[in-house]
């Protein structure tokens, strides 16, 4: 499992009951959007993540609806196993566009 995938899993596993949309995952992981969407697509295809559209009136909200992601039970198990295997969850790189670990 790559560092980026672990970061995304870790971001979603931090608060398993909370759903995150793209920008929240970007800001939690420090990864760029072009990186997280392929990861989310693979995780979704593997059944580790599910997503759904936000129910919102776009005119009232003044923005497009967001797609929210959360871990499935399988995904949570994998995220926890990955964190245990690594000793700890990878540290999210808040505020950094590219995580320090990527170098």
């Amino acid at each position: 499992m790559t560092l980026q995938v672990r970061l995304v899993l870790s971001a979603l596993a931090d608060e398993p009951d909370r759903q995150l949309y793209g920008l929240e995952i970007i800001e939690t992981t420090g990864l760029l959007p072009g990186t997280i969407y392929p990861i989310l697509a693979r995780l979704e295809a593997a059944g580790w993540v599910v997503s759904e559209w936000e129910v919102v009136d776009e005119r009232e909200a003044g923005r497009p609806r967001r797609r929210y992601y959360r871990l499935t039970a399988d995904g949570l198990t994998v995220a926890e196993a990955s964190a245990v295997a690594r000793g700890a969850r990878p540290r999210p790189a808040r505020g950094r566009v590219i995580p320090r670990e990527a170098f």
Binding site: Y21, G22, L23, L32, T35, Y37, I39, A41, A45
Partner: protein
């Protein structure tokens, strides 16, 4: 935001048809929530990496049926037999017949190119654009210089023959370089394909230059000769080996 919508619409073309609208909407939701330079940086990143997402979204495609694999394999074996015959038999069949055989020999690629192109189009979710692209690639890469040459003669546009001469070699080179990079089959087979692709590219482009660009003859002639020396052994090995794999196993790297 209107400009971003347009840009995202074009970038979404890289994705399978069924996923474009969702990606556009999700991307727009993220871009709307950020401002200034960051918005454009994110937009650029999403566009540049759209092919990565396309790769993640592509559906696995079932391999072609057994009889199609056998036909494609037989076609490949026929190409090497025809090419060798064209080079070895001019004293028997005459120069003109040998030249015609040589030009027709890459047509044996047709089955393999068609199978791969259609499979790629299906993995992108099908639809008119992927299938049209698959058909175009099949016609121009699968028939060697024949389709482009015929079209060039019919329209009187030499550039079509020149452009068409690049396609078969480039296709062979790309498919096998990808197989080599992904280690999706025997490396020696992929390497033979890369060399055959480079040789085919050199021979077909060289022949076009010799025929249509008199000023380039000085360079084109030795390039053609060297490419031919590379093409004959590499093509023979690649097409025979691949043809036998297709007949025996039903699949081969890149196909």
């Amino acid at each position: 935001m209107r400009l971003l919508r347009v840009v995202l619409t074009f970038a979404a073309l890289a994705l399978p048809a069924g996923h474009r609208a969702r990606w556009r909407e999700e991307s727009l939701a993220v871009l709307t929530a950020v401002h200034g330079l960051r918005r454009w940086w994110f937009a650029l990143d999403m566009m540049v990496k759209a092919p990565l997402l396309a790769g993640a979204l592509r559906r696995p495609v079932t391999p072609p049926g057994r009889w199609l694999s056998v036909l494609a394999g037989a076609g490949l074996i026929a190409t090497s037999v025809t090419a060798v015959a064209a080079l070895a038999l001019p004293p028997v069949i005459g120069e003109d017949a040998a030249e015609l055989l040589f030009l027709l020999s890459p047509c044996g690629l047709l089955g393999v190119v068609a199978a791969r192109s259609v499979a790629t189009a299906r993995s992108y979710g099908g639809g008119p654009l992927p299938y049209l692209t698959a058909a175009t690639v099949t016609v121009f890469a699968g028939t060697g210089p024949v389709a482009a040459g015929a079209l060039s003669v019919a329209t009187g546009v030499t550039a079509i023959a020149m452009a068409g001469a690049v396609v078969p070699g480039l296709w062979l080179l790309t498919v096998n370089a990808t197989a080599l990079a992904r280690r999706s089959g025997p490396p020696a087979l992929a390497l033979a394909g890369v060399l055959a692709g480079a040789g085919l590219l050199g021979v077909l482009v060289g022949l076009q230059l010799v025929t249509h660009v008199p000023a380039a003859r000085g360079v084109a002639s030795p390039v053609t000769a060297l490419s031919l020396a590379l093409l004959v052994p590499a093509w023979t090995v690649w097409s025979l080996w691949n043809g036998m794999r297709l007949i025996r196993l039903g699949h081969t790297p890149g196909v």
